[in-house]
Amino acid sequence: MTDSYYPKSLSEALELRRETGAIPFAGGTDLMVRFRAQAGTLPKLPHPVLFLGHLEELRQISMDSSGTHIGASALLSDIGVSEHVHPMLSETVMLMASPPLRNLATLAGNIGNASPAGDAVCSLIALDASVVLASLSGERTLLLEEFITGPGKTVMKSDEFIREIVVPADQPDRYWYRKVGTRKANALSKLSLSAMATVHEHRVQDFRAAFGAVGPVVIRRRDLEAQVRGMTLDQLSRETEGIVDAYRPHIIPIDDQRSQAVYRLQASLNLLRRWIDLLMQGG
């Protein structure tokens, strides 16, 4: 049997988290799969669990001048249709899993699971999203890129959990999300690209590209993005292959059950090239 805690409020949840170190459990769509046991037996969760999915305080999706605030336990199915949510994130979320899973799964869960193939993480990193970590000692806010440090690894402390995710209001004009899954629905990603840009008067003012499932963490290279910023479209056209080549060494996928490294690399670079083409066409 697994010890479990069912707090009635956020403050009680924070207390239980500090006292017990129980693992935050929202929809359970990752945990219940990871710790499943054989037919007719209960899942073998190695830690006590702290249920958070039911706390209304954590389920809100709201907007203020700083951006969109998505509660840790907001459901993917709600995020996908919320008017406050950036369309790239909505698209990403609606391509995750299947309707029944989206009715249970949460954004904080996808982040906390810290899989390099976590689809929401890829788009959130492109959107410069932050996570707000709460504990009895107070709150701290980290860029998502800083929060996730490796496959399944985050900097979350044993008395903290994610309270909300903040997506800044100010975003580039254009975006393009491409998930290459194992099939069209209810699929894990072989690779994904969350790309954004602002082009004003034939000049690239902002350029972002985040690649999922092709490295130990989502790959976003702010140094390379800085090199693209400021280019005219003519320059962008001339430099396309140079940009693609600059990304190449940073995309370091593996062979696994779902795909092959050589494919993942080639398809990722092809998508980057396509994104640059789309910018030049203005379409």
């Binding site: 209960l42 069209k184 699929a187 092959q260 050589v262 494919y263 398809a267 998508l271």
Partner: protein, 712 residues
């Protein structure tokens, strides 16, 4: 509007299944049950030196070879004595049964199974067809690793090759496929009145009886098999239930309590049988005008570690390897190769899909080589009534493929699209032509199965059909009733047809080989016709019909010569695809099919089979990659072994052409496998057209397409 027997009626099983009322084997509680957990080998080849079982709590047992009742055989009788029930020495594949732990608590069973320590002497193993042929690590079977080695000759291939202007060589490969029936394997075995009663999710109740009896040293009548509601089979429940039933039955004779074995999905995917991987090597001789004058075929299948039904699968593969084409001079060698993988076994199509995929792709490759339209090439070689088959038999029926092609070309917009999409444009069209012989291969129905169907009118006037074929989702509970009701002129819902119980029903054979309607349905019709005369006589009345070979069919099983099948179903599948230039993902834009199955017994059921079979084949052709890594299946969860969802393919257009078969019920022929045979090839050819590269293997994954585009 369709009239007569083809007109659709509500399926008798549909409501309860849709509403979740139907109870499958895992849903039925059994008083005092012991659960069974198989303990398996963790190496692929070698010898067991020691089995160390932890001390077992009261009420738990470890059952292994030594527990087989006196005089019982440690061999499971399939086509012949085959897999051992339990191994205590020789290991031939990863996941082979060593023993079965039984006890009342599943959690404890898992812990105990994990604590069993087995020491081995490991040996080098062969996993692929090439490694098997090379007898890597020494032969596993005989001295050449061949469970079967067949030769066929049609015409004078030697002379054809000596006259050849050029020879086109080709290698076509297909991989493993997992059945993914909706309900995993499950079985409950118990003692009742001194007999062994087996409740099984299965396709072939009488096979289980035959498999288990020798291991228990009991007579066939001492073993009673009752089919449990079966949530899909696709061939995966043809022989594999024998494996679990034998182990569980031995346990029951020892512990004298009911034993239940229910697999979960991962266990099922890891340790159940799969479709045979294949490799077909062609050499085709052309004359100076690029006419095909001869063909040399070398077909190999990966049979795995035990024979199972591999020789018969291989027979169907080689008999299908000229597909619907009359190739003038052919020499063929077919081999079933032993390897240290789980024995490959039956899967919808039973070798025919591998043969047809090879034939279709090879024909399309020839067309590419000689710059000819592939459909025109194929149409110029199509069989017709009176044509000679690869086994020197005769096509006895009128073949309607040309008129079917006219029709499907029209509805799919074939000619316009084929001319509009330049090769390599990213858009492609594929067309596969195929056939499937109904019933057992060769003289199997007459010499081995000898099907019988009984029908009774009870005292109370109610009519019951007694036969051994099972409902597993394909609609037999409805179609058999319809056939009887049509003859007896009554409502199909008033006829009884229970899930088979070997103690009550005659053996009408297994639910395999597209035989249930064509062969057994015909017997239902004949039994009903006999009973009709006695229907109004007082008291209980009975009739029985037994199989007889249709006149004019000849077969020699020794030489594999003659009519391999009495009649065929025919089909064409057209597929339109678009390949993403960046990721090589494939969007299937259209799927059009046309089939000739004699006569539909129920149009909605037929369309359900068409859609299901075609989508399953498209999964096989595009998504379902199943790789071996160190003898284990690399993909073994539903997250990694990818089957299609409703979003992956569009709706399947399906049309039927009638051509009643005089020896089928109301003219019906086989259907269940035919509809699987062509779609994978069609898909591969559509991709081939879209990317203008030679596609030589399935599944045609985006990874493979990228490889083709990068390296040619």
């Amino acid at each position: 509007m369709t009239t007569g027997i083809s007109r659709s009626v509500p399926r008798v099983d549909a409501y309860d299944k849709a509403a979740g009322i139907t109870r499958y084997i895992a849903d039925i509680p059994v008083a005092g049950v012991c659960y069974g957990k198989l303990v398996r080998t963790s190496i692929s080849r070698g010898t067991i030196l020691d089995i160390d079982v932890p001390e077992l709590p009261e009420g738990f047992w470890f059952i292994s070879e030594g527990d087989i009742p006196e005089g019982g055989r440690n061999r499971i009788h399939m086509i012949k004595e085959d897999w051992p029930v339990f191994t205590n020495s020789e290991v031939r594949f990863y996941g082979q049964t060593i023993g079965i732990l039984v006890g009342p608590d599943r959690e404890q069973l898992i812990a105990l199974a994990d604590a069993v320590r087995v020491t081995y002497r490991e040996q080098e193993a062969a996993f692929t067809i090439e490694e098997g042929l090379a007898c890597r690590g020494g032969a596993l079977h005989g001295d050449d690793n061949l469970f079967a080695d067949y030769c066929l000759v049609k015409g004078d291939p030697e002379s054809a090759f000596s006259r050849a202007h050029r020879v086109i060589e080709d290698v076509i490969e297909t991989g493993f496929q997992e059945h993914v029936y909706m309900e995993p394997q499950g079985i409950t075995v118990e003692e009742q009145d001194g007999k062994i009663v087996i409740h099984a999710s299965c396709q072939c109740p009488f096979y289980i009886r035959k498999a288990v009896a020798p291991s228990l040293n009991r007579s066939l009548d001492d073993i009673i098999v009752r089919q449990a509601v079966t949530g899909g089979g696709f061939g995966g429940k043809e022989h594999f239930p024998d494996i679990i039933a034998s182990a569980a039955a031995v346990a029951v004779t020892k512990v004298h309590r009911p034993v239940q074995v229910i697999f979960d999905r991962e266990e099922d995917m890891c340790y159940s049988t799969k479709r045979h991987p294949s490799q077909v090597i062609f050499k085709t001789a052309l004359d100076s005008e690029n006419r095909i004058i001869g063909m040399d075929i070398d077909a190999r299948i990966n049979a795995g570690a035990y024979e199972s039904c591999s020789p018969v699968v291989l027979q169907r593969l080689i008999f299908s390897s000229n597909s619907v084409y009359d190739i003038p001079n052919v020499q063929l060698r077919g081999r079933a190769v032993a390897t240290s993988t789980i024995p490959s076994d039956a899967f919808r199509g039973f070798g025919a899909p591998q043969g047809i995929i090879a034939a279709e792709l090879h024909m399309s490759h020839i067309a590419r080589e000689i710059g000819m339209d592939e459909v025109e090439l194929k149409r110029s070689l199509m069989v017709s009534k009176g044509s000679r088959t690869i086994t020197n038999g005769t096509i006895h029926e009128t073949v309607k493929l040309h008129e079917m092609w006219q029709r499907i070309a029209e509805v799919s917009g074939w000619h316009e699209k084929k001319s509009r999409y330049a090769p390599g444009s990213g858009r492609g069209m594929g067309a596969a032509f195929y056939l499937h012989g109904g019933g057992f291969t060769g003289s199997g129905e007459q010499d081995i199965i000898k099907a019988r169907v009984r029908m009774v009118k009870r005292d109370d006037g109610i009519v019951e059909i007694l036969l051994s074929n099972v409902e597993m989702g394909q609609g037999l509970q409805t179609t058999f009733r319809k056939i009887a009701a049509q003859v007896l002129d009554c409502d199909y819902r008033d006829i009884l047809l229970a899930d088979p119980d070997t103690d009550r029903v005659p053996d009408s054979g297994p639910t395999v080989a597209s035989r249930s309607i064509m062969i057994v349905g015909r017997l239902v019709q004949l039994a009903a016709e006999q009973l009709k005369h006695k229907l109004h006589e007082p008291g209980a009345q009975e009739s029985e019909a037994a199989y007889t070979q249709p006149p004019g069919c000849h077969w020699d099983q020794e030489t594999l010569q003659g009519d391999a099948y009495p009649a065929y179903g025919w089909g064409i599948c057209v597929i339109e695809t678009a390949v993403d230039p960046d990721t090589c993902e494939v969007e299937t834009l259209g799927v059009w099919t046309i089939h000739e199955i004699g006569k539909a017994i129920d149009e909605a059921i037929v369309h359900g089979q068409v859609t299901g079979g075609v989508i399953q084949a498209l999964g096989y052709g595009s998504l379902e990659k199943l790789e071996l890594k160190d003898g284990k299946f690399f993909q073994h969860t539903m997250a990694d072994y990818i089957i299609p969802t409703t979003l992956d393919f569009p709706g399947v257009y399906s049309e039927l052409v009638e051509n009643p078969y005089p020896y089928g019920p109301f003219g019906a022929k086989g259907l269940g496998e035919l509809v699987f045979d062509g779609a994978a090839a069609s898909y591969a050819m559509a991709v081939q057209h879209a990317v203008d590269r030679t596609v030589s293997r399935i599944p045609v994954t985006p990874e493979y397409i990228m490889e083709l585009k990068t390296h040619g």
